[in-house]
Subunit: 359 residues, 2 copies
Amino acid sequence: MSIQTIAWKRDRIKIIDQTRLPNELRYTYIKDVRQLFQAIRSMKIRGAPALAAAGALGVVLAAHQSRLRSKTQFRRQLKRVIEYLGSCRPTAVNLFWGLGRMQEVLDKNRDKSPDVLKSFLLIEARQIIEQDRIACRKMAKAGSRLIKNGDKILTICNAGILATIDYGTALGVIYQAKRAGKRFSVFACETRPLLQGARLTTWELKKKGVSVRLICDSLAATLMRKKQITKVLVGADRIARNGDVANKVGTYNLAVLANWHGIPFYVVAPLSSFDRQIKTGKDIPIEQRSPLEVTHNLFKCSIAPRGVKVLNPAFDVTPNQLITAIVTEKGLFYRDSILQGQLLRQSENGSYANRRSVP
Amino acid sequence: MSIQTIAWKRDRIKIIDQTRLPNELRYTYIKDVRQLFQAIRSMKIRGAPALAAAGALGVVLAAHQSRLRSKTQFRRQLKRVIEYLGSCRPTAVNLFWGLGRMQEVLDKNRDKSPDVLKSFLLIEARQIIEQDRIACRKMAKAGSRLIKNGDKILTICNAGILATIDYGTALGVIYQAKRAGKRFSVFACETRPLLQGARLTTWELKKKGVSVRLICDSLAATLMRKKQITKVLVGADRIARNGDVANKVGTYNLAVLANWHGIPFYVVAPLSSFDRQIKTGKDIPIEQRSPLEVTHNLFKCSIAPRGVKVLNPAFDVTPNQLITAIVTEKGLFYRDSILQGQLLRQSENGSYANRRSVP
């Protein structure tokens, strides 16, 4: 079975509408940038690496639809599109990274006509997509060595095919380990409030034939105490220079619990999730989302009294001390190596990586 | 506003149907023991102390409806009722404690006619109810001294009016502190899967004018890290002799987090939640509930793929090391005093408490 999270098809962006999963696998076409903005904000397309592609393809889409012949006007128009898409969700740095790469194409080719730029932008977007595919495979290989027979792996949110171009980050490691013939099982935290674990991760893992059990987020502690979890694997939305990791709310919870129970805790993320401009996790902007996600379920029925005050940040920050290692396409980085700047240097060497980011 | 969780009215048991909250405050009458069994199992009535009353009133109801004239047959019939109701939910010991007290009335009055026994049983049930009311007030007084101006109190599930006869255990402390003019605020964990925190605790606290904010269970860790929680207050379903506490799943999670972040963690529970026959938390039976509670929300829409494997224990166990103190109607018990047997001795002195329990 092939799952195609996002692609450029028939001059439009084709995505899976992830809000309809697991009940329905429906592909949908994004016709303009405004629709893309809504699709990202409403989580039809989500997952940090997938958002890099979504942002880049959004610029391609806008370029494609532009009728402007003037180089300056064309560039100005696309600059506004990049700013617009960059305002969509604040935490995952990959969105800004993808947009930044498109901006760089525009900046480096000021002498080129809109038509030439259109094809350059499409080439760049396709490169982003291809690089994500390769990065996922490399992370999977590097990470799968960590998985032992008999492992019971806990994950949160969805760091799989649906969060990337294909294969996934944390779940990519799991797919690779399965491919290598290892025997293990997975526990998926349901991941309140939007239930990406319950809806997306279990769906993916079942499709791929991986043994998975669904749990409420708060059960993780008990399973760890009973030695029913041997490793925690999560993705990342942004990694600060010191290795602090922003990821789906509940990740920090698991990191504290893993540390308390002596269980290794791994973050799996491409270098495009690394933000050279952010010193520590404290500086990572955390998206605050609608209280309705908590008080009303996805199907619009009320589960809390009208008007109750709600806190609903979409992400949290896990400090580097709680992270055993970060698995990237350049291999594993342990805390000491991160603090010594090795992740920083790798991100400098990585082509285009983090040369600029859109605020 | 008065909320009456459970009462004996017009020869029937009157309860609030808690599965309809917060959308509707509906009182319903329980007409027979089978209906009571279903009401307890489906959580129309829940909360450890309230279940003591529910069990006792169930025996009163059965006695009331019995047409048997023979003392032996009448006693045998009620014994079966007690066993039947005792098989309803396994974790909260208060149910067995309430039923045990009814059994004791039967055992002590073998020479009495069914008619006399009926009135004795009703008197005993009313005493259980009245004692719970008094115990809640005493716990509230003892516990409210712990609350300081500016406190930010985290709680899980519902340990309030709706879990007791009135006033509550953990929330009783909060009501009493408010009454005493203290200024503080409350964070309510939504408490997956059945959302007692979102549906019941916020509803109660809002009605009582207590400032409350609703959070997803997994956000607690972040709030603690940001020093937005200063105390954790929870109820209990069963307390072992060594002070290990079984309570709603997610409680152990909060206890580890509180310890990690240096935040005091208090359990508020009447002595009827103390089980002298259980040595440590490991021996407390934990109810496993339907996967549908996790995969389908209360309103029957699917939120996970069909057939996904689910773990859904309703409770977890918090080891005594993680508990700052247990607040009871006899005052506060710190870990050392519990290990020295002081809670055990108090439960021996408590009238009827734990003299017997129905397995």
